[in-house]
Symmetry: C2
Subunit: 195 residues, 2 copies
């Protein structure tokens, strides 16, 4: 199994760029985009659009409880970010229902060891994003969600390795059970189980 650079490994860094965040309308969707990025192996998300300090604090608080070193940063000028990413040798994948079909293109993307910047859009994505991206990729040709598109793309990119990711220094850790809830809580050097 390959390992991934989300503070735990050394092969490929995955970052996400979320375009056109709107404070009220998008707060929950963008939060889900952040958490999905993290759970599926990204090490950082950049938010563009309206700056949302409350959302960023919520995500940081969650990371502190659930572990790992996931970063979140506001980026007003995302075009600069795209250009810097590519200048640094990374490639850019824009998820859009209009792009090449993921099942046709994923092997090519996986074979390249370049760091990946995955872009998920807002309501209207400017043409320049399509043009600057190395890949425009669709996750089915149907309308659904930037959250599900991102999850499926990262899952396919990692070949399911997200299920084995470790998140260091977590306070909360789920203990999988077939029925009910079980969480291991590590505080002040002690473990306790909450059901």
């Amino acid at each position: 199994m390959k390992t991934y650079f989300n503070n735990y490994s050394d092969t490929m860094e995955i970052n996400v760029l979320r375009l056109d965040h709107r404070l009220k309308r998008d707060a929950r969707i963008t939060t889900h985009v952040c958490l999905t990025s993290r759970a599926f192996g990204a090490s950082k998300i950049y938010l563009s659009g309206e700056e949302d300090e409350k959302l960023m604090k919520n995500v940081k608080d969650l990371v502190a409880r659930w572990g790992g070193n996931f970063q979140i940063e506001y980026k007003k000028n995302y075009v600069n970010l795209i250009e810097e990413w590519q200048a640094g040798g990374g490639e850019v994948i824009h998820l859009t229902m209009y792009g090449s079909q993921v099942q046709d293109i994923i092997d090519e993307i996986k074979e390249s060891p370049k760091n990946k910047l995955i872009i998920v859009g807002g309501s209207r994505v400017p043409t320049k994003v399509y043009k600057k991206s190395d890949y425009n990729v669709s996750i089915t040709k149907q309308p659904h969600s930037e959250v599900s598109s991102l999850a499926i793309f990262q899952h396919m990119l990692l070949d399911g390795a997200e299920f084995d990711l470790k998140f260091d220094d977590a306070v909360f850790e789920v203990v999988p059970t077939a029925e009910g809830k079980k969480v291991n809580i590590k505080e002040n050097g002690k473990n306790s189980i909450k059901k």
Copy 2:
């Protein structure tokens, strides 16, 4: 490749139950849950919690434009639905970050030809849902989103067959392109391409 019963096939019917919808707070997330269900092969979604006629109309309008026969229904008493589903020979899979890990259990679930009712929760899922479900399944042990959990579960259940689903009588049909947008519009028996 297996085919799936989403009005196009004859093997396994997949329905989704979304618990505890709240009118204002959940409108967009629940919409994304509906569209993800449809795009990844479910034939119907049941919404529980607060009744939301506007959301249901929006989803129906989208189905009319994008094709297929996806159904949406409000169900106040979801416990009845679970019991009827099981009495009719179907099985129930509740997606929760506390459950058995999907990578350990998906083969068992796939091998069973029973119809599947997939439950995605709201903020607090009652213990009875855990107890009545045939499977409680986690998509990673990390917090992320009911939208991403549903997409990954359906993708793994269908082995990627969602990429080949056909949606009958669509007005809009995406023509995948590596750069830019291309949509085939079928109206009044005529086709036109919009870019």
